[in-house]
């Protein structure tokens, strides 16, 4: 067997963050060495910590605040093969007025759709569309051959550019898990850098890039941690757990592990990276556990839509039911919240 030094010495894209942290001559080898030098994760300890955070008891005023904030952090999502313009309009209507019976209900952070549905989402939002600003509802598009990511780079970039051109404010890309698992970190890195470049708008601004790690396929917490570092080094604005198409999707220990990376990155560079658990968070209780985990791991500063999101579809209605319960003292039922 010969050692393939040629591919190890292959230079990877000169992403600014990576150059700063890893060093000037970025190669497959230097990147690998850096990622493999990251301290390991003890799975039992991580899960124990996550379940301890899950036992926090959030009551009364804290609960009321948490429920409203959860709504403000939701990327209301529809990602079905059967999506139509009509379905997207209905989703947008729900995003604008989550609870018709209570106008004090805050709006969600974003709607998340497939790339070809972006024009309909933008149109339906009208003046409520954030369009690059921090006020209003963002439009997030999944791209890069979501959910599998099995397409050529050219197709992935075209997918991304299309969505950005159609008015998407945020791009949720998937990493190439095949390349990651076979140790071709440089390839994954280059692809993220390229997609980030494709997020550039005509006016020179960028759509926000969320990098989906698909933690259910990465399988180990060590991999999740390594992929998180990789995604941040390559320029991701957010790291996101899952597509929602693979089980397990977002779990509390996984999110905790990613938050620890984000905390360490902040400690290292002062820069704030967002985290988005997606898929599998269906109840207010689960969502509150995530808020607690964010607040006690990276700090409350992260509990804003710029730095933390829930990718969810059914979570919103459960939060609305809990809100109604807090307001009226009685549980209503699924008939008292709208289906979108």
């Amino acid at each position: 067997m010969t050692i393939d030094t040629a591919s190890a010495e292959r230079a990877v894209a000169p992403a600014a963050r990576a150059i700063e942290v890893v060093g000037g001559d970025l190669t497959e080898k230097s990147l690998r060495r850096y990622l493999e030098g990251i301290p390991g994760v003890d799975a039992v300890g991580l899960e124990t910590r996550a379940s301890a955070l899950g036992t926090r008891s959030i009551k009364t005023t804290s609960k009321a605040w948490a429920l409203d904030r959860i709504i403000e952090l939701i990327d209301l999502t529809t990602l079905e093969g059967s999506d139509t313009p009509g379905k997207v309009r209905s989703l947008v209507a729900k995003a604008l007025v989550p609870d018709a019976a209570d106008p004090s209900t805050p709006r969600v952070a974003a709607v998340c759709v497939y790339g070809d549905m972006v024009p309909y989402a933008v149109e339906a939002l009208g003046s409520a569309h954030a369009a690059g600003s921090h006020t209003g509802i963002q439009v997030a598009a999944v791209a890069t051959a979501f959910p599998s990511g099995r397409a050529s780079l050219a197709v992935k970039l075209a997918d991304t550019k299309d969505a950005v051109a159609a008015g998407a404010d945020e791009i949720d890309m998937v990493i190439d898990r095949g390349a990651f698992l076979s140790g071709r970190y440089g390839e994954v890195f280059d692809e993220i850098v390229a997609v980030k470049a494709a997020c550039e708008r005509d006016n020179g601004t960028f759509a926000h890039l969320k990098v989906i790690l698909e933690t259910g396929e990465l399988n180990t917490y060590d991999n999740v941690r390594r992929a998180s570092w990789l995604a941040i080094l390559a320029g991701g604005d957010f790291i996101k757990t899952s597509t929602g198409k693979v089980s397990p999707a977002a779990t509390l220990p996984t999110t905790l592990s990613m938050l620890e990376v984000v905390r360490d990155w902040h400690r290292l560079t002062g820069e704030k990276i967002g985290v988005k658990p997606a898929g599998g968070i269906r109840s207010s209780k689960d969502a509150i556990k995530h808020l607690v985990t964010v607040a006690e791991t990276v700090g409350e500063d992260w509990l804003t839509p710029e730095l933390f999101r829930f990718g969810a579809s059914s979570l919103l209605n459960d939060v609305l039911l809990q809100r109604q319960k807090l307001r009226t003292g009685a549980y209503s039922g699924p008939a008292y919240v709208t289906v979108d």
Binding site: P39, D42, V44, R49, S57, K59, S62, W65, E296
Partner: protein, 514 residues
């Protein structure tokens, strides 16, 4: 608002149905005591909870006589399967009344409800379930066929885990066929008395378990009583030594679970975030009032600064306050006397030149409180690195090589617990093999399981509690089979099984059984 100032989430005390006063539990009934009654208080508020009768010499006589009677007439004659039924019943009743026991324990001891609810009480039930299963399988306890029970066991327990220590003592004693007179700690008598109610509910035959309250003098009367066959003590090394002296030559079998100054060793390749959690669990669990606490942190020098920085950041999120609030991480110190000791030893630490640090935290005015504290720049010669503080105070020391870590960890008169944090499995095994500690945790700390033996080396005591080894403390080989013990030399046994507890030897001297 700030989300992290979670709104109060107090556990209700409405579930408690406490009486204004409690007697002694002797021969299946609550009876008046003849010692001066004591008032048990909540250490978090200093408010009285209940008046508790204490036992004088006469009461101790009555309790031991009741235990003897129950042993002779009922318990020693009952089949193991039937004893097991009672133990299973007790375990289930503990589970049924879990919330009530958890609230009472938090109230009386000052420890946070999340610990009593999630650790203490579930472990109490687990201990009874575990030993219930052993009751009819004593032939497999490692003492040869048909081992025999010892008789009346005198048990004296501490205040740091009042109910759990009770379970550690009573469950194996009863499973093995002994009867019990147990003395609870002076400052935490409450849950033992609620447990006595559970025994009544379980219809345990009268006299099989007798529970006395009182201070050290009551304990002394009990362990020195002529009609006691077995003494089990958990508490300070000082008292343990007195008991060893006074029981020597009496034929009473003795187990001692004493102090500790556990070393928690963090290597540079440790899973850092989990190690930080382990350090916190090691020393701030139960306000550090744990005999096996990881009170000496040994950090590899090249990661010292990072570990300390991360640890300080983590300590800022610890919530100190009302033990009954479900979000409290660190509760009250158990007593004014203990608070005084912690305060004094911490002052000594400063005087000796170590750097003291605590996170900002507001402590309540009433009650006994001590902020989580870490000392850095600690040397092995400092008192805070040698004396058991028994409080939320961590001493941080450094090492450079595994050999140095082992030497420093073993450089203590105690030998109860140790922890190893590394990603390297081979190092865990190599280091654990050389640590002179009864319990070595790898990549975790302060984890307990009824199947796992627990006990100390050196001045941390002798004998084991928990697991199969815990049974040996309450059994003797059958008379016909009494030679079994001497067939394997003690030295060979310990070499073959360095991590295991000592095999049953007659533990009536205070020599290290290893």
């Amino acid at each position: 608002m700030t989300f992290l100032n979670y709104a109060p989430a107090p556990e209700s005390t409405a579930i408690l149905d406490l009486r204004p006063s409690y007697g002694l539990f002797i021969d299946g009934a609550f009876v008046d005591g003849h010692g001066a009654p004591l008032t048990t208080i909540s250490p978090a508020t200093e408010k009285p909870i209940a008046e508790i009768a204490t036992a004088d010499a006469h009461d101790v006589d009555l309790a031991v006589a009741a235990a003897r009677r129950a042993y002779d007439t009922t318990w020693s004659r009952m089949s193991g399967a039937d004893r097991g039924k009672y133990l299973f019943r007790i375990a289930r009743l503990v589970q049924e009344r879990a919330r009530e026991l958890a609230v009472a324990e938090s109230l009386d001891n000052g420890k946070p409800i999340k610990e009593t609810r999630d650790v203490d009480v579930p472990l109490v039930a687990a201990w009874f379930f575990y030993y219930a299963g052993w009751a009819d399988k004593l032939d497999y306890a490692g003492l040869g066929p048909s081992p025999r029970s010892l008789g009346v066991a005198a048990q004296v327990i501490p205040w740091n885990f009042p109910l759990l220590m009770l379970a550690w003592k009573i469950a194996p004693a009863l499973a093995a066929g002994n009867t019990v007179v147990l003395k609870s700690a002076e400052s935490t008598p409450l849950t033992a008395l609620l447990f006595a109610e559970i025994l009544q509910q379980a219809e345990l035959p009268d006299g099989v378990v007798n529970i006395l309250s009182g201070a050290g003098d009551t304990g002394s009367l009990l362990v020195n009583h002529d009609d006691v066959d077995k003494v089990a003590f958990t508490g300070s090394t000082k008292v343990g030594r007195e008991i060893a002296r006074s029981t020597a030559g009496t034929g009473k079998k003795l187990t001692l679970e004493l102090g500790g100054k556990g070393a928690n060793i963090v290597f540079d390749d440790a899973p850092i975030d989990q190690a930080i959690e382990g350090i916190v669990t090691g020393i701030f669990f139960n306000q550090g009032q744990v005999c096996c606490a990881g009170s000496r942190l040994l950090v590899q020098e090249n990661v010292h600064d990072e570990v300390v920085e991360r640890l300080k950041e983590r300590l800022r999120t610890l919530r100190v306050g009302d033990p009954l609030d479900k979000n409290t991480d660190v509760g009250a110190i158990n007593s004014a006397a203990q608070l005084k000791r912690i305060t004094e030893l911490s002052a000594v630490g400063e005087d000796e030149g170590a750097d003291r640090w605590s996170p900002e935290c507001a402590l309540p005015d009433a009650g006994f409180w001590f902020a989580p504290t870490i000392f850095t720049n600690v040397s092995t010669s400092h008192r805070i690195a040698r004396d058991e503080i028994f409080g939320p105070v961590l001493s941080v020391l450094t090492f450079r090589t595994p050999d140095e870590a082992i030497t420093k960890a073993n450089n203590s008169p105690y030998g109860l617990s140790a922890g190893i944090w590394t990603d390297k499995g081979s190092r865990i095994l190599a280091v654990a093999d050389k640590l002179r500690a009864g319990v070595v945790w790898a990549n975790t700390f302060n984890r307990f399981d009824p199947a796992s033996p627990f006990g100390g080396y050196k001045e941390s005591g002798y004998g084991r509690e928990g697991g199969r080894h815990g049974l040996a403390a309450y059994l003797a080989p059958s008379r016909a089979d009494a030679t079994v013990r001497s067939t394997v030399p003690a030295v060979a046994r310990t070499q073959a099984e360095p991590m295991a507890a000592p095999e049953p030897v007659v533990e009536t001297t205070n020599e290290d059984t290893k």
